[in-house]
Symmetry: C2
Subunit: 393 residues, 2 copies
């Protein structure tokens, strides 16, 4: 079959090399990767098959990871990855959601064939895709293995993006600009919220005249009124925009699952004084903080700089104000590595992509204005070009 690889084989080899360095330093001989973003990163695998159990097994002694998954999905591996037949292991359908057997028993058999059952085995213990039952089954079936926590190991490797990856994130950013403009152009008092949400999702997939988008890792977050007082609600499918609505827009573009997210806030009518004030403080702090960002400073120093802008304003922002993002599937475009918050000692390096996201949620409404940025050799570069202001209609 024709391969639909998105990167050169040499780039995958480099990713494997960097992953093995981290494995070696932690004493992990075999790594099981079940996060679909991590699977894509190391193998190219791309498909909505992660609702059944699948993963990669990467051994320090092999140049390529082994894919395991449902047999009916294995042609997806032949189409989207650089793996050869020896590295593709499809299980029969009776394993799927079975009450009598378990996919991890199949995985243990594959590991036995490969001579990997007596090794230290790194597992994504605190990830989305490695559940408690899988862990119980592996404990039972691999008594000779040393099970270790390798949560986010590949995500840390992914945190520094290559030029090819940055190119996709730039394309995703172009899509995101159009998506956000679509929302702002079409939100009006009297228009159904779902009609605008429909245009927003269409813009996410349409992309540009030249290239298409892909489904972002989070659905369009675009709540109104009191629904803006909390962080993760979407449009109301049966409601019209009303006078004096606050509308929060947290929307992304995505290109081959590389996400680029952005937040803005709109007000329909004459904004109350406290919303204007929150907006002014946040946007001033945003600009000041972005000027401060450069390689060599820590993630917590960025948050500290942001927070210094709030002193004396009466505004508090108790949650983290940003996170690393990139190649991710549902449910999150965040990479769970770098967080802009107190205590995060990560030193910023060129090639990191971070969503600086100082959302403020008050009792009855919220305000968001964010910027995704790329850490460069000398500072940072905003990935998206979109006005930083409270949009008023």
């Amino acid at each position: 079959m024709e391969s639909q690889l998105r990167f050169a084989k040499e780039e995958f080899a480099e990713r494997i090399r960097r992953t093995k360095e981290l494995m070696d330093h932690r004493g992990i001989e075999v790594l099981m990767v079940m996060d679909p973003g991590g699977m894509n990163y190391l193998s190219g695998y791309d498909g909505w098959s992660f609702y059944v159990h699948q993963g990669l097994l990467l051994s320090l002694n092999d140049d390529a990871p082994h894919w395991f998954g449902r047999k009916q999905d294995s042609n997806g591996t032949r189409i989207t990855t650089w793996l050869d037949e020896d590295h593709i292991h499809g299980y029969e359908d009776f394993y799927v959601q079975s009450r009598y057997t378990h996919t991890m028993r199949y995985v243990a058999e594959v590991m036995d064939e490969l001579g990997l059952t007596k090794k230290s085995l790194g597992l994504e213990m605190d990830g989305y895709w490695f559940n408690a039952k899988m862990y119980q089954e592996l404990i039972q079936k691999l008594p000779g293995a040393r099970l270790m926590d390798a949560t986010n190991l590949v995500n840390w490797v992914k945190t520094i993006k290559s030029d090819g990856e940055i190119n996709y994130i730039r394309e995703a950013s172009r899509i995101c600009e159009r998506v956000m403009q679509t929302a702002i152009d079409n939100i009006e008092v009297g228009v159904m919220e779902k009609d605008v949400a429909s245009m927003v999702t269409a813009a996410q997939i349409y992309g540009t005249e030249e290239y298409g988008g892909s489904s972002p890792a989070i659905f369009p977050i675009m709540p109104t009124a009191e629904r803006t007082s909390t962080a993760h609600m979407t449009f109301h499918p049966d409601r019209k925009y009303q006078k004096n609505d606050v509308v929060i827009l947290e929307l992304a573009g995505a290109r081959y699952n590389y996400n680029s997210p952005l937040s803005r806030t709109m007000y329909l009518g004459e904004p109350p004084a406290d919303l204007r004030r929150v907006s002014d403080v946040v946007i001033k702090g945003l600009k000041d903080t972005l000027e401060f960002v450069k390689p060599g400073i820590s993630a917590e120093a960025v948050e500290e700089r942001w927070r210094s802008n709030l002193v004396g304003t009466g505004i508090e922002k108790p949650s983290r104000v940003g996170y690393s993002f990139g190649l991710n599937y549902v449910p999150d475009w965040g990479e769970h590595t770098v967080s802009l918050r107190p205590g995060d000692k990560t030193i910023l390096k060129p090639g990191m992509t971070i969503h600086f996201m100082p959302g403020i949620w008050l009792d009855t409404y919220g305000f968001e204005c964010s910027e995704p940025f790329l850490v460069t050799e000398t500072g940072c570069e905003k990935l998206i070009d979109f006005p930083e202001k409270l949009f008023i209609k």
Copy 2:
């Protein structure tokens, strides 16, 4: 705040009562529900906040479940659920993706306050949302609890739909008909795949003139050509439809997260004889099997009837041919309860909604034609009205 509950409180009370019956019969005193579909089912909670740890704790001795989650999401509970303040527990932001503490330590503290630490505790061990690390933390923090497997417990309760739920699934079905028609009307040789995918996603959210849709639990599966030879690929964002493409369409409508899925297949040109033959066999078997379905027969008997239609045709279908669906979030609209496959002894009952989905994947392409149906008092009712045929353009 104004409640945006989708069902009467009495219906939630009935769901709780049925869940407690199952808990009691299994000897589970406290149930932890982390699946967002299950959380919504019992409490009404709705938001894209499941990318951080959240859940419900339902005790046999309480009429209402306790919600726990990120503090900034707790207003979402006040807006979308029927829970009172005593049942809402928001954790501070430093718990989020922390390398130093864990959300399950917070949960253990809440359980301690509620006097629930010495009970038998049911956990969704093999679900998407209860990971291995959570399990490790609970073992450590709740030495007096008896941890039990309660995978899919709420999903089994959910499997029989109420009239109100069926109403939402019917609305989702109306949306799905429009979504599928949009795809079939717009797929043409020379059109970019992403342009049609964009219209499809727009139709999913637009819904109808009267009401809006919500994001289905699976993105649009609409592969072409050799990408149809595997089960879960989507459109190619940079490719145009070509002459002699097979196009598989597995698309859903959703209404308040109640999904209604449907599959059809299209051919652009003169279909090869073997595709026509597969199509004829599958559609004949589909119709025959649907006539056979009625309450009182087993799930495996449905599959056996389907398979009897394949005898002598040379076509094999080794995977399961259907599953229960309904109120679900990403990554799956399937409920992981009833499966139409050998060995599933579930007896069909009125109110079950099942996607009969006999997909065939050959070496180089696939064919799908499916029907979601409702089990009625006397037989079954197709939820979607859409021609059963191989679409040819």
